[in-house]
Amino acid sequence: MGTYAFVRKIWRIAASIETGVVLLMLVVILAALGTIVLQRPATRPDEMQRSYSPFLLRILDATSLTDVYHSWWFLGLLLLVSLCIVAASLDRLPNRWRYFSLPCKFPEEGFRRTLQPQRTLDLDPEAGLNEAAAIAAAELALAARGYRSQRVVHGGQTGLFAERNRFSQLAVYVVHLSLLLIFLGAIVDGLLGWRARLTLHPGQIASAVQLGNGALRPLGFTLRFDGAGQEHYPDGTLKQVWTSVTIIEDGSPPRPTRILINAPLAYRQVRIYQSHTGGSGEELEVAHQPGSWIVWCGVVVMGIGLIFVFYLVHVRLWVVPVRSAKTGKLSVWLGGSVNRHRDGFEPRFNDLARSIEEELKRTVAAQGNGVSSPGIGQAE
């Protein structure tokens, strides 16, 4: 097997839906496992020893089952999932992109034969209805429904094309992209981010924090601890915990602020939180998450993408006057297509067909040539 064939085979496997499903199921199973087996460091070592026998604990530790979400195999699996999302998206994108960038504006005969839903409205030449009148009537009916239609000339024939929400074709890729953005943000945070505890006494200052492994990280400014306190409800339960600090920086006046639970201080590259443990108010937590803005971008993009996926339907409508080769009879062919929720579209399509018929009747009436027949009938 040549290299090209090999790469192609790998690509096919990576881009296949089966691989995606298997990988996602693996993620589900392993993530669930991590909620059943007690995890370090959330569980204290003595509790781990109480819960599992030494032998079992050794096995669990060796396989990283006691820290599933940071184990190499779980992270590797998430990476594989990301790669498969990329492969699957790239594999299907060209096709979708063609839909998006080169919309089929004029339906060829083969296309007209198979498209569903479709309708053919017969035109009565004696009523004075010709191609131009049919196109004009359809234009009016489409405009009444908020479609801006365009006239398309193809091989000497003139047709109408109207569409809505073309972007919906690409929405699913936006969702996939957003998932990758979220993963990327999490990876950036995992590699470059850090967390630390900061315990201070009144009047003390800090310009750096010490991580769990002993490394020092500069804050980029100086923090002075001014005081801490708690508020209670009349019945004695805790209402709020606060810490007063002052931000001191060269060249700017000192800035006093208050840190509360649910209201952290975000300054420069760090966010400083009121600690939940203890509740003494003296302990703060400092977090540096350089990737979090990527995560939030991903979340917003995903929200928008999902709205497009589920609630914006790409609707395409075509109107073509057709003259039968055998009988020479003129009729109007109307076809529609949606990329999802077809059941909801069909009644609207039928409505549109009806209003085109009505427009045609009105045209006949306006011409006022006294022909009693309504001028159109319905075929199909």
Partner: protein, 459 residues
């Protein structure tokens, strides 16, 4: 449960069940109101919750009654009972909101009450807008299980802890409730689809009895453990009527529960045998055992409710409620009972159900529609939860069990959507998938709270 028993005993008589159910609801409601009026307030939360439960039970009983009699009038009255239950539910929510001074979204009691409310609203919508008239047959039993759990989780109103004082809490929980309610409706629709798609009654028997067995087994395990195993010492008192009390050794109760478990397990065993070598007799036995197990399940529920003894954990801070014992245990027993009873309707009145249900294509599509509604809501629930966690804990993702299971639920529904859109799964496989998805939702909502621990301890 009174109405349902009446429903079973009254196979004859046209309007009898409606009248009986109505009279019973009126009687029970007036007793509750009268006993409540000795205090100052007539419309207390307790009464409102009781009324909610009664109306939902009435609605479910009428749906089951329809299953027995195939009288369409029952459905109309069931729908009226649903509306009344919804009204009582709304009043209970409003009352609690007014009393607590914050939206009812901050603990399991409040969220569950809101969830039941959302479920009832979606039921009414599905009935009115999509014409799925018997959807209440699934959603009303779910609502009953919810209210039963609500009744027991009720605590005195506490002011909000600092962690919960965030606007994100309200957004996050509201989205979660709506998402879970949409998942519940998709589940109900998927079951309706399976009925209409002529899935064999035998398959339903296998699924229903397996689900009951799973619930019952875990409940029995919990009871036996609480009562000191199969050789535990001690006596329990069962309050039968006002002064009348029955004394029973705990060992006996443990063994009785095990015996009941064996009966509940028989239909599953019969189904398993039948799948290997089909035969009519096995199914007959399975059905009989299911009937027997319904009676036994009802009995053990009654015993558990009236039990005064070491198991009646008078948990501190909990208001005295008519239903004692562990809230999840009682709810589990009620759910198992309702699942078994649902099968009865199916076994006896399948043809009438099929006549009333919309065509399979429509059911298939609206199941998908419900999931199309649930999935963005699930996404937003996780996103707002992550944002709030980042504000409160300083990290947007902590791999807390609740978070992890929310992500798992999201992945399961993402798989559903991919199977449907990309692979083209329709019909039966998609419906089974929707049913499984809701099982995951239930685990995320209650299982994580009950079985796994984490930072998300308030709900």
């Amino acid at each position: 449960m009174a109405q349902q028993e009446t429903a079973e005993r009254q196979p004859q008589g046209g309007k009898t069940l409606i009248v009986l159910a109505g009279l019973l609801i009126a009687l029970l409601l007036s007793t509750a109101l009268l006993s409540g009026s000795r205090g100052a307030d007539l419309l207390t939360e307790t009464t409102l919750l009781y009324a909610t439960l009664l109306f939902y039970v009435g609605a479910a009983a009428l749906y089951l009654g329809f299953g027995l009699r195939a009288t369409e009038a029952y459905l109309r009255w069931a729908s009226i009972a649903t509306w009344l239950g919804l009204a009582a539910n709304t009043a209970a929510l409003a009352h609690h909101w007014y009393q607590a001074g914050h939206p009812p979204l901050t603990n399991l009691y409040e969220t569950l009450l809101s969830f039941v409310w959302a479920l009832a609203v979606l039921t009414v919508v599905a009935q009115g807008r999509y014409g799925v008239r018997v959807i209440g047959m699934i959603t009303m039993p779910l609502a009953i299980a919810g209210v039963v759990l609500v009744e027991q989780l009720r605590t005195a109103v506490h002011p909000l802890s600092p962690l919960l004082q965030s606007n994100w809490l309200q957004v996050h929980v509201t989205l979660a409730i709506l998402a879970y309610a949409a998942c519940a409706v998709s589940f109900a629709l998927a079951v309706m689809f399976l009925i209409q798609d002529r899935v064999e009654t035998r398959t339903f028997l296998a699924i229903c009895s397996a689900a009951s067995l799973a619930i019952y087994a875990s409940v029995v395990a919990a009871c036996v453990r609480i009562w000191g195993g199969l050789a535990g010492a001690g006596w329990a008192e069962i309050a039968i009527w006002h002064g009348l009390r029955l004394k029973a050794p705990l060992v006996l109760l443990s063994w009785a529960m095990l015996a009941a478990l064996a009966v509940v397990a028989t239909p599953v065993a019969c189904c398993a045998l039948d799948f290997r070598k089909p035969g009519k007799r096995l199914m007959q036995i399975a059905k009989r055992c299911l009937l027997a197990s319904i009676l036994l399940q009802g009995l053990s529920l009654a015993v558990l409710l009236r039990l005064k003894g070491p198991s009646a954990a008078a948990a501190s801070g909990r208001l005295p409620t008519p239903l004692g014992s562990n809230p999840f245990v009682v709810t589990g027993l009620v759910s198992a009972l309702l699942i078994s009873m649902f099968f009865l309707v199916l076994a006896w009145r399948r043809a009438d159900l099929e006549r009333l249900l919309p065509p399979v294509e429509l059911l298939d599509r609206i199941t998908y529609r419900a999931i199309c509604l649930a999935f963005p809501l699930l996404t937003l629930t996780i996103a707002t939860g992550a944002y709030w966690a980042n504000q409160a804990w300083g990290s947007y993702w902590n791999w807390d069990p609740k978070e992890t299971w929310a992500a798992i639920t999201w992945l399961v529904y993402a798989l559903y959507l991919h199977m449907r859109i990309t692979v083209g799964w329709r019909g039966r496989r998609a419906a089974y998938f929707a049913v499984a998805g809701f099982a995951v939702v239930i685990f995320t909502f209650f299982g994580v709270t009950y079985l796994l621990r984490g930072m998300h301890a308030f709900v």
